[in-house]
């Protein structure tokens, strides 16, 4: 595969690569900025597909193994696309002590998938987190980037039902 010159636009014509190039230039294409660049890439594209990792490896002049190694080492990087909505359940100690396991079971039962998976219709991703740091409000979940405090199994399921309802209302 021929190397991709940085100055040229990405052959796909996807403008999002220009945004990514901006971050890469800001870090002077330095290899030690890999994590920063991957953060930016995931922010722009939503997840890190193989083609994107290749692009980053070329741009930072790093072996692909190093880029792939870093992308898979850190939990924050997703190599698969996420659903339209994400439900991040905190499984930190405080939430655990206050019954996060019950919420986990209720939500898994409702969605028919396990945590770490996405529903087949790409609507809901269930993610578990180690601690979101809102322990005073345990048990908590981060529901589409908003912290939902003092959840119960019922209120957690209700949140997900809301998403599923809005999906039905808007025909694809």
């Amino acid at each position: 595969m021929p190397p991709i010159p940085q100055q040229q636009a990405h052959p796909s014509g996807d403008n999002r690569f220009k945004l990514l190039d901006r971050t890469i230039t800001k870090h002077q294409s330095r290899g030690d900025a890999l994590i920063e660049v991957l953060h930016a890439a995931q922010g722009i594209f939503g997840y890190l597909e193989n083609d994107l990792l290749l692009y980053v490896a070329h741009a930072l002049k790093l072996p692909l193994s190093r880029v792939y190694g870093v992308a898979t080492f850190y939990h924050f990087f997703a190599l698969k696309p996420k659903g339209k909505h994400t439900f991040v359940l905190c499984m930190g100690t405080a939430c655990y002590v206050k019954g996060a396991t019950g919420i986990q079971q209720a939500v898994e039962h409702h969605c028919h998938i396990k945590f770490g998976e996405t529903t087949p219709d790409d609507q809901v991703s269930l993610v578990s987190a180690r601690c979101v740091g809102s322990c005073g409000l345990a048990p908590v979940a981060v529901v589409d980037n908003n912290v939902a405090a003092k959840l119960t199994p019922e209120s957690a399921v209700a949140r997900i039902e809301e998403w599923q309802k809005t999906k039905e209302e808007v025909p694809a």
């Binding site: 330095r30 290899g31 030690d32 900025a33 890999l34 994590i35 920063e36 991957l38 953060h39 190093r66 190694g69 870093v70 080492f73 850190y74 939990h75 924050f76 990087f77 499984m91 930190g92 100690t93 405080a94 655990y96 002590v97 206050k98 987190a129 180690r130 601690c131 979101v132 740091g133 809102s134 322990c135 005073g136 409000l137 345990a138 908590v140 908003n146 912290v147 939902a148 405090a149």
Partner: protein, 550 residues
């Protein structure tokens, strides 16, 4: 900026604040923000505008006020009244009744004379909840950056380190290494290039102290780092912060920008020859990156895997240069020590553990939230006076400190003073400050299993004792919790745990068996009650009742 400029700026800001008859502080930290403090802000601003008093009364978003479980919180200055569970309607009432008529809104009043407030002693959190964290002038008005000015213009680097050494400050990340000593080592290391790193990768589940400091008073950390940079001879600092804390990242970015604009970071700080820049590095969700050598790798853009020490980062750290790594809370203590003197700081707490410690209280406790107490305070006072004890109808069982490397402390050891040494005598450790209270509904075998599951997941896989040992320990715990374990499995658990503890490379593996050890030590009967009865096995006396039932 010169020292005079700083003083003038502080006076101007104090004068501006004096113009207001009242200042309404609403908590805008992550805890209260998630239960609707932005709505409170809008309601306050709207109400002030409607009454036409927006020039006399200001509404200010602040950092954490402590009582996170009762949010959103609002505090009124100058009288210090505090309100809890504030929603838009209550915000309207506060303006109508408290501000305009001087009559308190009794329904939402917080009793600020309760032990939750009166037993605390605030150094690190002194500004949290009383300044606008996004406004550098408010920090300057609260004597901010005065310590940096003093250090850069009046003190030699060696003097600063002496001062920190005399204060008795020890690392707040958990291990408690004397801060002054560490600074001295980095200072002595011969190198052109040195770095200062702030460890804000607060990964322990149940801990949110560092996040609260970064959200509520970010400049305090920047100032501490700059003083450290001056003392050890570094011109570049990094803050390694978790990606899970978006608000803290946003506020830090803003704080760095403001400080650079004012000339408090950057080149020729206070017109001296001292240059210091700070950059942010965002973590990506690996618990092991809280370990210093792994953190360094991660800043270098690599997989965060620890390496054997020595050489310590103080000798060979970031890109091979001497690197000073301290925790957020440690840096947050620096400016007050310089401002008020080491003798003042050394007088707080115990002789061996000086100063205060911030704890995050969570779990089965009435007052959940953020507290700061002098070192040496008995655990009982933290849990029952400040925390208000367990909620009605439940009984205290154990307090867990130190995260996944810590231990559970049972009732009989509650009178233990909280300091670095005492906690290790009961098999726990200080850790970064998460304190989780468990009641009788928590089953200790499950708790140990929960922490082991965490370690299995977070083990980086570099050394075998941790990578394989944690999985085996988890399987043993699982077997016991399903009622299929035998007395031999208990012995094996102990033996394997000791092996993992003694042979793992870094703190993650070395600490991983601690929850098992401490639960085995204090709650052995819970394990024994789950064992499959084997011929000839005699349970310990206090377990007999439960075994016969099972």
């Amino acid at each position: 900026m010169t020292v005079e400029d700083l003083k003038e700026l502080a006076e101007q800001e104090q004068e501006r604040q004096r113009q207001f008859t009242h200042r309404i502080f609403y908590c805008s930290a992550a805890g209260c923000a998630s239960c609707g403090s932005s709505g409170v802000r809008n309601a306050l601003l709207k109400a002030l505008k409607e009454k036409g008093i927006e020039k006399e009364v200001s509404a200010v978003g602040t950092g954490c006020m402590g009582l996170c479980g009762e949010g959103p919180l609002v505090r009124i200055a100058p009288d210090g009244t505090m309100y809890q569970h504030v929603d838009e309607a209550v915000a309207q009432k506060i303006v109508d009744r408290h501000i305009l008529n001087g009559e308190k809104v009794s329904e939402n009043l917080v009793d600020t004379s309760s032990p939750f407030f009166s037993s605390q002693f605030k150094i690190v959190l002194e500004n949290c909840g009383s300044i606008d964290s996004e406004n550098i002038n408010e920090y300057i008005a609260a004597e901010g950056y005065a310590s940096l000015a003093k250090v850069v213009t009046e003190m030699a680097p060696g003097e600063v380190i002496d001062e920190i050494r005399k204060s008795g400050l020890r690392g707040r990340g958990g291990a408690g290494y004397p801060t002054g000593l560490k600074w001295g080592i980095v200072r002595k290391a011969a190198s052109e290039q040195k770095y200062v790193v702030c460890n804000a990768d607060e990964g322990d589940p149940g801990a949110f102290m560092d996040r609260s400091v970064l959200e509520g008073d970010p400049h305090r950390v920047l100032e501490g780092m700059a003083i450290a940079g001056y003392s050890v001879g570094a011109n570049q600092g990094y803050i390694y912060v978790r990606a899970e804390y978006p608000l803290a990242i946003e506020r830090l970015r803003l704080a760095i920008k403001h400080a650079e604009k004012q000339g408090l970071l950057g080149n020729r700080i206070f017109e001296s020859g001292f240059n210091f820049r700070i950059d942010l590095r965002i973590g990506a969700g690996a618990f092991v990156c809280g370990e210093e050598t792994a953190l360094i790798r991660s800043i270098e853009g690599k997989r965060g895997r620890p390496r054997p020490r020595p050489p310590y980062p103080a000798e060979r750290g970031l890109w091979g240069s001497p690197t000073l790594i301290n925790n957020v809370e440690t840096f947050a203590n620096i400016a007050p020590i310089i401002r008020r003197g080491s003798a003042w700081f050394a007088g707080i707490g115990t002789p061996k553990s000086a100063g205060t410690k911030v704890f995050a209280l969570a779990g089965k406790i009435r007052n959940t939230g953020l507290i700061e107490v002098p070192m040496g305070i008995p655990l009982r006072r933290i849990i029952f006076d400040i925390g208000g004890g367990t909620p009605e109808g439940t009984e205290f069982k154990a307090a867990q400190t130190g995260g996944p490397s810590g231990g559970c402390i049972p009732t009989e050891h509650l009178d233990l003073p909280v300091d670095y040494e005492s906690l290790t005598t009961v098999g726990s450790f200080m850790g970064s400050g998460g304190l989780i209270v468990m009641d009788s509904t928590s089953k200790m075998v499950e708790v140990a299993k929960y922490f082991m599951d965490f370690c299995v997941d977070e083990s980086c896989g570099k050394c075998i004792p941790c990578r394989v040992g944690t999985v085996q320990l988890y399987n043993l715990l699982d077997k016991i919790s399903r009622g299929e374990g035998t007395v031999d499995d208990l012995a094996l658990l102990q033996e394997l745990g000791t092996m993992v503890k003694e042979t793992s490379l870094c703190g993650l593996g070395q600490g991983a068996p601690n929850p098992i050890f401490s639960t085995l030590r204090f709650f052995r009967q819970e394990y024994e009650s789950l064992l499959r009865p084997v011929e000839g096995f005699v349970a310990s006396p206090n377990a007999q009742k439960t075994t016969t039932n099972a």
